[in-house]
């Protein structure tokens, strides 16, 4: 009996270690692979201000990434937060419409991004006539991240204890003041964490953008121009095959951006953990 338990324990430990080693190994391999392949090509010309088919500069893509991300957030974040506030604070609990909205939201969150791309192509690019543009891309991404922003905001708002709401009402504060002075500040770290997740999705997105923002590699001067983000840039370089090395270099930059975003979200998570 004792021996048997011991051997099963050893097997379990071995499995655990293998799994852990595999996870770390794959991640390390991936990162090291990208770094080795990419770093040698991180040349100044890759960062020149304008793109030519010669230097395949990623600077315009970096700028476009920031612009598209910002624009998507400007659209999706207020919508998502206000929707969450409505669902949690104003809608009557057990309301049918609320249940429907929640279900829709969960379904939307599970849809592959290329479907959103197709929708953007049909609706923003086609029906609204915005063409391949920053605006079409940002709107498509906004639709894509809306469920994520809304769900995380909802969870953060629901996690705010009712005793604080009662305390505020008990002092004569109305619902609006209670929401803006008590509930939202308390929910802010959770909401922010959701926004950062959304940024991560935007930065990593290609499928939905190929169909909507197009692949022009210059810095857009109006929202109606086509532009490519870093991910799309990398995809284009790799798939065209002429500049795969620069594609790896772009991957390095993308990796750095993603790591920065993760560090930021970890920092925020730690700060809100410390507060409680």
């Amino acid at each position: 009996m004792k021996r048997k338990r011991k051997s099963s324990e050893i097997i379990l430990a071995a499995l655990t270690w293998t799994a852990a080693a595999a996870t770390i190994g794959i991640l390390l391999y991936l990162v090291v692979f990208i770094l080795i392949k990419g770093i040698p090509y991180l040349t100044p010309s890759l960062f020149s201000f304008t793109y030519t088919s010669d230097n395949v500069s990623l600077t315009p893509a970096l700028v476009s990434t920031v612009v598209i991300t910002a624009l998507s957030l400007v659209i999706a974040v207020p919508l998502g937060i206000f929707a969450a506030i409505y669902l949690c604070e104003y809608a009557r609990r057990g309301n049918r419409a609320v249940a429907l909205i929640r279900m829709t939201c969960e379904t939307l969150a599970g849809i592959p991004s290329i479907i959103f791309g197709l929708f953007g192509l049909l609706f923003f690019v086609g029906a609204l006539g915005w063409g391949f543009s920053v605006l079409s891309g940002a709107c498509t991404l906004a639709v894509m991240i809306l469920p994520l922003v809304m769900r995380t905001a909802e969870e953060a708002i629901l996690a705010v204890p009712d005793i604080w709401r009662e305390g505020a009402f008990g002092l004569g504060a109305g619902r609006l003041r209670t929401v803006f002075r008590i509930v939202l500040p308390a929910a802010a770290p959770g909401i922010l964490a959701g926004i950062i997740l959304a940024v991560g999705r935007i930065v990593g997105e290609t499928a939905a953008l190929l169909y909507t923002a197009g692949t022009v590699a210059q810095i857009p001067t109006t929202p109606m121009q086509s532009a490519r983000t870093l991910s799309v840039h990398m995809y284009a370089l790799s798939s065209e095959g002429l500049h795969s090395d620069q594609g790896y270099a772009t991957a390095v930059v993308l990796l750095v951006v993603v790591i920065l975003i993760n560090a930021l979200s970890a920092g925020i998570a730690r700060r809100c953990g410390a507060k409680k």
């Binding site: 009557r92 609990r93 204890p161 005793i163 604080w164 009662e166 305390g167 505020a168 009402f169 008990g170 002092l171 004569g172 504060a173 109305g174 003041r177 002075r181 008590i182 500040p185 308390a186 507060k275």
Partner: protein, 249 residues
Amino acid sequence: MNCFEIKDLHLYYGAFHALKNVSLDIAAKNITAFIGPSGCGKSTFLKTLNRMNDLVEGCVIKGSVQLDGEDIYGGIDLSRLRRRVGMVFQKPNPFPMSVYDNIAFGPRTHGVRKRYELDAIVEGALKDAAIWDEVKDRLKSPALGLSGGQQQRLCIARALAVAPEVLLLDEPTSALDPISTGKIEELLLALRDKYSIIIVTHNMQQAARISDTTVFFLLGEIIEYGETETLFARPANKRTEAYITGRFG
């Protein structure tokens, strides 16, 4: 003089008849204690006095509740009602902000903006709640860093900061240790000349120690009420006697 006059009050949570034909006059500048076994409707009744039941869906109220002769279920301004009738809850609930901002929340809600006015109100409220000496050096630090007993006195200070006439307290010491409880009881006795205090407690010694009038609830009805000493010494009703001698509940 009475602060509250309640007549023929019925309260329903959906189909559940939680308060049955409650009529009661509550004296001003006195401590009134509500006692009774848990689930008998003490909190529910307390919450009808500042209309916190409005937040409960499916809650229906019939009858009249008058505050200084004004029907609070008529066209009264809710915010003003809750300024006049403050509330302290069972579990200390300071907001996740500084001590100062906690106390200033109420006055700011009611339009006080000037820094020096707020400073004076905060200091006054904290002194009234006998917690000034403990927090005067940490007004800017988070209120959630205080001990449980301090948090509850802070909540009392927060309620006092809007200069209420009535203070409702729902088992304010049930989550506290005996020393903190003692401090709060002392505090309530000190506040008794300035405010009408209504306290729910299921600690009968507490009711006997601090209240002038005691009201005994059972299953949503008032069984008996009167001067605390009399009620505890010579209860008129058999069920009151059974409860205060610990034979049920």
